[in-house]
Symmetry: C3
């Protein structure tokens, strides 16, 4: 189902929100300069994201805007260099796998007033697998156990237990 878009007006952003964005950027930088598989790294991951479930792992470099809007479930595997543009909210279900270089993008710019961010949430459901370098656009839900092929650009919802691929992504087959 198509999600509602909401708007963030960056021409009128509060000092408090601007400071939060800077804090997010600097925390992200700090994480990307901390040795992975250490307690310090794990603590920074918990601080950067809104939720990061038990048994999940994420590899650097991590590129995140508004990391507190990202909720990651348990036993997820998120590989190198994934992009989270999270102003619209990102939810990743238990056991999901996000391959390297994937792009999760929850905001566009208004076509005319580019300072308006038009945002809608992304949901990656349980056990879904997003392939390397794939792009998920605002408002998209990737269903349970679905597979998004490497390099796909996903513009609309992906049904559970299906495989999609291509630019823009199209149905390839059912997982039976």
């Amino acid at each position: 189902m198509k999600k509602e878009f909401f708007v963030i007006d960056y021409s009128a952003i509060s000092e408090e929100d601007a400071a939060k964005d800077v804090h997010n950027d600097q925390l992200c930088f700090k994480l990307n300069h901390t040795m992975p598989h250490t307690p310090e790294y794990k603590a920074l991951v918990q601080e950067l994201f809104g939720e990061f479930g038990e048994g999940s792992k994420i590899m650097p470099m991590i590129n995140v805007v508004r990391g507190r809007e990202v909720k990651i479930g348990r036993n997820c595997s998120i590989l190198n260099n994934v992009l989270f543009m999270a102003a619209g909210g990102i939810t990743i279900g238990d056991g999901a796998m996000i391959a390297a270089n994937a792009q999760l993008i929850t905001n566009n710019h208004d076509e005319h007033k580019r300072w308006l961010l038009t945002c809608a949430p992304i949901e990656i459901k349980r056990n879904a697998w997003v392939g390397a370098g794939a792009t998920i656009l605002p408002g998209v839900t990737v269903g349970e156990n679905a597979i998004v092929a490497a390099g796909a650009v996903v513009t609309k919802d992906v049904a559970a237990n299906t495989v999609v691929g291509g630019v823009p992504a199209k149905f390839i087959k059912d997982i039976k």
Copy 2:
């Protein structure tokens, strides 16, 4: 209009130019290991690029070859992990937005003599918006206010006030 290509012969590169390339790489590394939103970071950005206008921002990781050939206008927003292969020259107009993981590529290799770089400039005009992970190829101009969709590969000029997308990128619609 199709730009003229020029050739750089890497089999005959001068010691001076080779040293400049190494300096560029090391400056780029240093920038990527400096905390963003600090005076040190901003000073390195000014050193890395040929021009970097007032009010513009750029996020790490920054991947740049021949950064002195890049001219960035005022109030531009350039997000994480953008690639600048700049031997052919890159000009980015005021207010342009370059999303994360975009690739601005001004050089190819000759099909037969791979040590010959065939170069042509890229221009991103005022207020254009290049989407996440999009690729702009040598000689391409993206017109004022145009939008390049996420994941597009742009092989020819994009008219002002239009939206293009896909691999290779095709006209999608006018911005009215």
Copy 3:
């Protein structure tokens, strides 16, 4: 010729192999935080990869899983931010060029049992050129002197002396 796939069962991975994966990740991190064009950087590159031939260069950030399964020939040029998912084995021939952001992926997950990695080797033959952001999938051989266009997703073998491009990649022309 289609390669045979083999399976790695991550639900039954030995402590020794798990420790090797952590060591790989931490070595990769260390390399990405070492100044390029220095003896320290070059020593870490030799340690990370199974083979790294004389006269070859590689730029950070380097994203590698199971780097010891990667064999890189002589006089190769590998640019920024290339991804090596190497569980299935990667061989890169002398003089090959891998552009920035390329993805060399030798493993998928089983569609049903996601903890099973299904692996097949990638071969990039002598003097081939893989374009920026291109993706090479498990089992693919890119022939001698072939060119993979920027942003392509290569799902099957590429004949020597040909150019391919698109998602999925298709034959574009012969190099004569």
